[in-house]
């Protein structure tokens, strides 16, 4: 059951943070409160309307800002839409809420932070008494996050009850009045944020101690991946003439907000997209270990068993392919080795992979990428959407691969993950590397500013 016997009160004028791991039931609860999901039992009551801002924005990219905000409620003059009146209404709404917006801009041309503002304004024009925000800062740069919280704090002061669903505890501590923690569909703790600490909330979320990541061991660097004047991708999501190296025995983290060229960079390095420039890989292995961004679409065949998935990508290698046939014994041995090394929780290696939890699916993807000890590992959001325990395990395996001499390129939108793992950090902004930091000289604030495009 996604949500089980939950009681939750939101108060006018307060920001209430709902935290929990992925799959704890936070989004489902928000959807029940909003009305998109019907509860099996129980009631939702509000003193006025309820608004919901989704984690993935529900905007029409090819329409203008005002068209999106007033979609379905456009003011009319006779048979036609009163565009001038509509724009005036949007501008009024924006200034009432202290949000600056260009009503004529096309939504698809706007940065994510501004798109979110559009989504927010669309909910606000219905004057909700309760506003629910599902992972509102997931796609924002650190600087945008601060301005976002200024806006909603202001909203709360004017009497709106606000609930933010999040897994970023630092934001909870900084901005919320009350915190509720969800675990396995239940609310396991509700408290005044001022009377608790980040560590307490984290422990409550996980239901125990936070597992530690493997230690960093000294290594001897040697050249492995070298990229020069490397360009890939098209449109706004591309990298332009970047140059960098990843040595064996180090983890290089690529920090940046999603959509600044990470995908084309990772795809080109993995050999599944075209590029210009030079790419040199010094490796004794046939191919790098690749952990793609989207495990459902890019890494796994969901109806297949762990056994069949274990050899995907190596099905043409000698040893896996015997004549025209597949060597099932090799596939089974690989699957069992993945299950053992990554502690995959599955009834057997023959169950369809879609029956596994997201964390266990991701463990299979990571285990497969690390089979045969690759010299180079390309990891793209390796812990996206998985629980803290599985994430720590995945991060530990990446660290161990590095300790054993592998070069690891880590692309992540979670700055904390990069700060935990990386020996060196590259900051990617609009397809350019705008900053490079060695582990010893990491300046979190400076990285945050660079990610948002300021100096």
């Amino acid at each position: 059951m996604a949500v089980d016997g939950v009681d939750l009160d939101l108060y006018a004028g307060e920001i209430h943070a709902l935290v929990g791991e992925n799959g704890a039931g936070k989004s489902t609860l928000a959807n029940i409160a909003f009305g998109t999901v019907k509860p099996d039992a129980g009631t939702v009551q509000a003193s006025g309307t309820i608004g919901l801002v989704h984690q993935h924005f529900e905007l029409v990219g090819r329409l203008r800002v005002w068209q999106n905000i007033l979609l379905g409620r456009e003011p009319r003059r006779g048979l036609v839409i009163d565009a001038a009146g509509a724009k005036a209404r949007v501008l009024q709404l924006a200034s009432d809420n202290g949000l600056e917006i260009d009503p004529d801009a096309f939504v698809e041309d706007l940065p994510i932070g501004i798109q979110q503002r559009v989504e927010l304004l669309r909910e606000l024009q219905r004057e909700p008494s309760v506003l629910l925000l599902d992972e509102p800062t997931a796609a924002l740069a650190p600087a945008e996050i601060a301005s976002f919280f200024t806006t909603i704090t202001h909203l709360a002061e004017r009497g709106t009850a606000i609930m933010i669903v999040t897994h970023k505890l630092q934001e909870v501590i900084s901005y919320s009045v009350r915190t509720s923690v969800m675990r396995h569909g239940k609310i396991v703790g509700s408290m005044l944020t001022a009377s608790t600490t980040l560590d307490d909330i984290a422990r409550e979320m996980v239901g125990g101690e936070i597992p530690a990541v493997a230690d960093r061991a000294p290594t001897t660097p040697r050249p492995c991946l070298s990229v020069r004047d490397f360009s890939a991708g098209s449109g706004s999501n591309r990298v332009t003439e970047v140059s960098f190296d990843v040595q064996g025995g180090e983890i290089v983290g690529v920090a940046g907000v999603e959509g600044n060229g990470q995908s084309p960079l990772a795809d080109a390095l993995a050999g599944v997209a075209t590029y210009t420039g030079t790419l040199t890989i010094s490796s004794s292995k046939k191919r790098p270990g690749v952990i793609p961004q989207d495990r459902h679409r890019e890494a796994l065949v969901m109806p297949w068993s762990i056994v069949e998935n274990a050899i995907l990508g190596r099905q043409h290698d000698p040893g896996v392919q015997k004549g025209a046939l597949l060597d099932r014994k090799v596939a089974r041995a690989d699957a069992e080795s993945i299950v053992e090394r990554l502690d995959v929780r599955a009834a057997s290696v023959d169950v369809p992979i879609k029956t596994l939890s997201g964390g266990n699916q991701q463990k299979v993807v990571v285990g497969r990428a690390l089979l045969g000890e690759p010299d180079l590992v390309l990891a793209y959001q390796p812990t996206r959407g998985i629980d803290v325990g599985a994430a720590a395990l995945v991060q530990s395996r990446l660290m161990e691969a590095r300790n054993a001499g592998a070069a690891v390129l880590l692309v992540s939108f979670e700055l904390d993950e990069i700060l935990t793992l990386a020996d060196r950090i590259l900051v990617l902004y609009r397809g350019n590397i705008v900053g490079t930091f060695d582990r010893a000289e990491i300046d979190r604030a400076q990285i945050g500013r660079l990610m948002a495009g300021s100096k």
Partner: protein, 340 residues
Amino acid sequence: MNARRLLAGPLGAILLALVLMAAAMLVAGVSPVDGFAALFAGALGGPNQIAETLVQTTALLFPALGICLAFRAGLFNIGAEGQLLIGGLFAGAVGSHYAMPAIVAFFVLLLCGFVGGGLWGGIAGVMRAKFGANEIISTLMLNFVAVFFASYLVVGPLRSPLATGAETAPLPPSEWLPILIPNSRLSIALLVAIALAILLRFVFSKTVFGYDLRAAGEAPEAARRNGVNMARMNVLAMTLSGAIAGIGGATIVTGVLHRFNTQLSPGYGYTAIAVALVGDLDPLWICVAAFGFGILEAGGLAMQASAQVPKDAIRVIEGLVIVVLAARRFVATQTEKTTA
């Protein structure tokens, strides 16, 4: 397939279609009991009836297996009808032109069907791989091209001077497929089809090619990123899919008609879509499904004669089965989306 899944899917679809058809008979003033009795007596009432049912089964089985291969590769080949026809055309043209001893004819003429159907399917595959053309549209359109192309040939260059209608000259008896049940039209083509089904299942489950093909169908992006050449797979799968349907056309020429004409198929290639779906895209279940549809095809005429239910009512069942199965798939994908 377990029992529950079978009932929720293919079997349920057939049952529902039969119930709806019974209702239609009632509306038409015919007792459903009489109607269905006539249907089953016509299809299974004696050795001759069973033989004719198996002739229809065979004719449906080849294109259904071809469709199965394409669907498993994620390609919606709606063009089995045209591929079957061109396969038959190649076999009829070669067979009527050259006299061959039996054993040579068996292989050469089936190969002709394979090549003809493969060519026809391959066109759609190349169009998809090179230009991104939607194979549903191209295969469907190629069906019409096939009919008119074949019609032109049998009223023109390939027409037999002795024939009364638009058809090729008859094949010499040495080229006819051996008959399984005396005094029937049932040839060894049935055994070829069943062997092909077994082979196909083996290819799917044991070979690297089958692995790549299923990956391409189930998860195209994951397949592309993991060593499957998608363009090559599209061409190969469409070619093989058409080739299998084409063998079916060749067996109708060498086993049943002993000549080629454009009335070769009353729509086997379309009915075969329902057969493949009812068989849940599993070659062995498709054999069972083909037999079920063979009963409908063979029994339909008897039903028309003795119970005054038009044969076209059978098409109603087939149509309903497709609608129910398509609806089920749609509901399943929508449910997955909302729970994801």
